[in-house]
Symmetry: C2
Subunit: 702 residues, 2 copies
């Protein structure tokens, strides 16, 4: 994962480590190899050890390398000194029962091939093998990005590096670093030290750290595009250097999240002088050809209220703030050009006044992106890939930068460079970032890399589960992080609790987490009024979107009553498009017993959760949720009873069951139950059973 | 934990967050407060949020601070610009139902007080409170260190910082950083760049990183003492700069672990010139008054073989290498003095030729330490605190730098500055460091801080369990790390396994891990011949020493058959001194059912483990272990049966049971079962039951 462009399986397999005995793995370079490729090879060996046992690295690094070479690495050259949009990322990987060959034009292509090789390695009856296969692979899109907002909440360097490690697994190639916001400016400037000393809470990246992250990313074939958002989202700049602002009264760094205030003054020459110097300074740290200027959500309220700015607009014949922002961006162009940078920005920078070599990042959606392409602008798609929407992997996987029914012609399609996954940080911190980003981003990365016709969500989920486990090998904490938070929720509850009570609470909480997922960004904000001081350490932070149980339950329900009819979900019903089963081929009987076991376990877990909710201030809203969870378990058990007996329920039961599910669909304690759609199908199937025999007899007897 | 010098509980409690409603926590400084103290206060608020729910920080940082001040922080001054051995670390903490006051002479004392306050916070019926108490606290020893070897295996900066975070929780105050070894030199030198470019595998700390770690430690009241080991353990130096060596043929950095070769030439003026420059460079990065020169394990074989060195020794009348090493150390003294440093080194530097202001770190033991003190040398004890001995927390807790029966007089006792926990890294990496170091180091830290008469191991374990959970709040991975490794052991097993099979394997592996612990360093080395290329990702790396189950099982056995007789363990029997129960007050009946449940679960888990062992090359030695584990479960079940029926087993059964336990005591797959001592007591108790009624009748009938 992502699926290669083309792969031909053959018979047999190449043995890396035999079932009994030590590995005899060896490799050689038969063309160029620089330090970057060597480091990548060592990382590959370490990870191969994880699958194949501890002898692969030892064998490969032994000074005595007699014995057959298993892997030949043929790389034509290192690739660009600064990786560009058009870097050749293709590779071929050929495995026969005798040997493997990895061929690529660049280090970057070779590294992609190594990730594929690692995913092929598997244990069969105690032997570790690579199946015989011939893969020719090249990405569908050139720009496959992941944006991380480190400004609303800070992410320390190790957390950033973990994301880059995982990006390499997913074959993503652009790390878009959102470094400034109303809440903080996170990049040390030696020219303008107040940007961080005044414009942050003290948490920021030193220039050495930023250079180290750029080097870390380059070592993994990943570009780093920094974003300094202007002229809006700029409170931190203006608090540090008030002369940049439009005269608003800002009262320090923003605590609340949202759009205004905090806009620069596009009419001030001092602003351009400042930006010129800053782009020069940051441009030297970030060698990428692109520089992201943000450009989003500057409604210009402050401009319209400022007489000096209003006069400027009148003089230039600008009637709307949009026109002033286009003017602002026009002034930035020569500055970026002077420093050797091309402009990228959000939707709002799209304006006919700007030249065609800029890149538009679309947070407004695919239609907006297409509209840009029709005007001749390059673009990348982000709207469907906002992780804080807490959508399923399947939903995001199916969203395509160039859908099948696109109205773009071939030339216009070439302007769509790719897409970017976006992780905004209003409700995110270093403890939760991994579980919010992964494994779902793997599904989107496959969309960016693999052929357009790769749309089988069930097969996608099967592979997602496997690679999700592998992500922990590169240090990602997407499973361990929420576990720790849950353990902490239990350990900080009432100290007098007995060990057995705590064990039961821990078990119940893990079970609850396995079937729940976070409220979306908007839902959580509305319920909690999250601001920069809100602690992110409650149940909602200890669960992950799109839990595997969703597919498992959907698969069991499929096995029991047949697949759901395709088509739009009913109005007001939960969106069940993510409820695809993952390769479940359960018998009807196994499905019945699997579901019975689950529903019973939910009901059993309720008392321990109620106790925990009473003991932990951080769980004080979880009591009603636990009771509701138990109710859904009871409804499920009863529905199975009707289905098993092939007896229709009474109308009263059906009404009750649907009422429970309607309440359950709303969730609680900032989380949703991930299985409500499947459970509704069970209830509907029970309700559709033929009426009981007695009623039929009554009818006959009339 | 550690226990304060003096504490008086009073009635009532101070409410931080009421059962219903928001926190009204507020604090103020009524004397000096610098940036360090402010940062420490913010960290305290974050952690208080974890216990008390998310409103404490929000409330404390709100601009509207009307309402009662709950905590007054009175700190006389920041303390030394460079923290010294004699820094005043004392504090008083007074909590009444109305308010709390923390008083200290220095930031360091105040930070210790904050840790104590955090441990007091507890939830009672949904309210978060601090119990009313009056604490006056000061450490017993001035030097409470933790040594981390980052040379045999590297630890990245975040892993180092996690240890420092946890040290602060434990009120330890010296981070001893073992930066050079045969395997690698880990500190960037700008004067001698080959020390890392040639003398390491590329993994080292930049000077910026080292300065950042020093600052990070200082922010937490912790000194950093760097160690550059010489003249032995110096292969990495000599590989980089051969002119430092004694003419040995070194063949690159050491792969094998052990003592020789790799000794500097004490007769070469170039060596002293080099060391002078290096101490100057590193001394500026590490401002501490002490500089650790290592000095251990330089047997001098290379010196005796080198004619030039031998001639030098003859000329000076040295007959043994010891004398040449004392000469070496004498030459170092003026160098250290020139750079404002005092010498600290391992046992071997103890020599009458050296002055009395040096500090001896004793890896040889308490007797060696006392011998030094009697000669007037200052010392710190380390021998009993080698974590890779995999001893229990209780064993290490009971080892005292100044035992009750010490033969030192009061003046000599003052020379014992304290002790250091040592974590050597032959069998350690970044993934396992947390679980090897914590929570056991908490027990040793209490020995260094708390009064000598604090020796109740059962009470110690009760508190250890609680603080162990809190350690995850500062980011320590001692629980999450092994969990991830176990999950990985399952996920990398045969890919074709069904999800249910994997779930069963995961559950069985977690259960096995909960009752096993690693082989000691020596046992593992003998079994595995560990070297620098060995992967540290097997079962032994996924279990932790002294698991809680040891105490739980011991407690249940105590409840069932009474406490074990004190005294020495029998010859060849496993050392059961760690088998103390932790506050278990089980009824006899509860103990019986607890043990029955455990023994049955072990037997049930065997098949899933056998399957896993067959599927995973990294578990290929776990099959026999699993079978043996099941056998012990069966023995336990049978012993309970005899005890329940109050019927003596046959001699045949007893013989069989003891044979199983003898095999179990040896362990397997590099791990030991942690409960063998307790199970042996059960078997002994069964064997000691009165003979069955029939035999008695037979006797009567005679």
């Amino acid at each position: 994962m992502p699926m290669p462009s083309s792969a031909q399986r053959a018979d047999g397999a190449l043995t890396v480590t035999p079932a009994s005995g030590l590995s005899h793995f060896a490799f050689r370079y038969d063309a160029s190899h620089d330090a970057r490729l060597e480091a990548a090879t060592l990382r590959m060996l370490d990870r191969l050890d994880r699958t194949c046992g501890g002898d692969v690295r030892r064998s490969a690094l032994a000074t005595d390398t007699s014995g057959a070479t298993l892997l030949t690495i043929h790389v034509a050259g290192p690739g660009g000194a600064v990786q560009g949009v058009d870097e050749d990322e293709s590779y071929t990987l050929k495995v026969t029962p005798e040997a493997a060959t990895l061929t690529a034009a660049t280090d970057v292509g070779a590294m992609h091939g190594m990730e594929t090789l690692l995913q092929l390695a598997t244990n069969v009856r105690g032997a570790c093998v690579l199946p015989a296969i011939s893969i020719e692979d090249t990405p569908r899109f050139r720009w496959r990005g992941f944006m991380l907002d480190v400004s609303r909440h800070f992410e320390p360097v190790p957390a950033v590096e973990r994301q880059i490690d995982a990006m390499a697994v997913a074959k993503l190639n652009v790390f878009h670093w959102h470094l400034s916001e109303h809440q903080a400016f996170r990049a040390e400037s030696k020219l303008f030290p107040k940007l961080t000393s005044v414009g942050s809470d003290g948490q920021f990246y030193t220039q050495d750290q930023m250079r180290a992250v750029v080097a870390y990313a380059r070592a993994r074939g990943i570009r780093v595009v920094p974003e300094f958002d202007m002229p809006g989202h700029a409170t931190s700049w203006i608090v540090a250097y008030p002369e940049l602002g439009s005269g608003e009264d800002l009262h320090g760094l923003a605590i609340k999240f949202g759009v205004p205030p905090g806009e620069m003054d596009p009419t001030s020459p001092a602003v351009y002088k400042f930006v010129d110097a800053l782009v020069g300074e940051m441009g030297a740290i970030f060698p990428d050809a692109y520089f992201h200027i943000g450009g989003d959500e500057a409604p210009g309220d402050s401009w319209m209220k400022n007489p000096k700015i209003k006069a400027f607009m009148d003089k230039h014949g600008f009637t709307k703030p949009d026109e002033l922002q286009a003017y602002f961006n026009q002034q930035l162009l020569p500055i970026l050009k002077k420093h050797g940078k091309q402009m990228i920005g959000w939707d709002e920078i799209l304006n006919p006044a700007l030249p065609k070599n800029i890149v538009i990042q679309s947070w407004r959606g695919e239609a907006s992106l297409s509209a840009g392409a029709k005007q001749g602008y390059q673009g990348i798609l982000s709207a469907p890939y906002y992780l804080d929407g807490e959508k399923t992997s399947a939903q995001m996987f199916l969203a395509d930068p160039i859908p099948v029914d696109t109205t773009l012609d071939a030339g216009q399609q070439k302007l769509i460079l790719g897409g970017e996954v976006c992780m905004w940080a209003e409700q995110l911190d270093a403890e939760t970032v991994d579980s919010r980003v992964w494994p779902r981003t793997l599904a989107i990365a496959e969309r960016f890399w693999s052929p357009q016709n790769d749309r089988d969500t069930s097969y996608m989920y099967q592979r997602l589960r496997r690679v999700s486990a592998e992500l922990e090998d590169v240090g990602v904490m997407h499973l361990a992080g929420p576990e720790r938070l849950r353990r902490n929720l239990v350990s900080t509850a009432e100290a007098s609790a007995q060990p057995e009570t705590r064990a039961a609470a821990g078990h119940a909480l893990d079970l609850l987490a396995s079937v729940t997922e976070p409220f979306s960004f908007g839902e959580r904000y509305n319920a909690q009024r999250t601001d920069a001081r809100t602690s992110l350490d409650r149940l909602v932070d200890a669960v992950a979107a799109d839990p595997p149980a969703r597919q498992e339950i959907a698969g069991a329900v499929d096995a029991l009553i047949g697949k759901a009819a395709p088509g739009k979900p009913a109005p007001h019903a939960p969106d069940t498009s993510g409820d695809v089963s993952a390769g479940g081929r359960l018998s009807r009987q196994d499905a019945m017993s699997d579901l019975r076991r689950r529903f019973a376990a939910w009901q059993d877990a309720v008392p321990a959760l109620l106790t925990l909710a009473a003991q932990s201030p951080r769980m004080d809203d979880a009591g009603p949720l636990a009771l509701l969870w138990g109710e859904t378990g009871a409804v499920g058990t009863q529905a199975l009873g009707y289905l098993d007996a092939k007896t229709a329920p009474t109308a009263e039961w059906t009404e009750h069951a649907r009422e429970v599910l309607d309440r359950a669909a709303k969730g609680g304690a900032l989380v949703h139950f991930a299985y409500v759609g499947s459970l509704r199908r069970l209830v509907d199937a029970a309700a559709a059973l033929p009426a009981p025999q007695t009623a039929a007899m009554g009818s006959d007897a009339k």
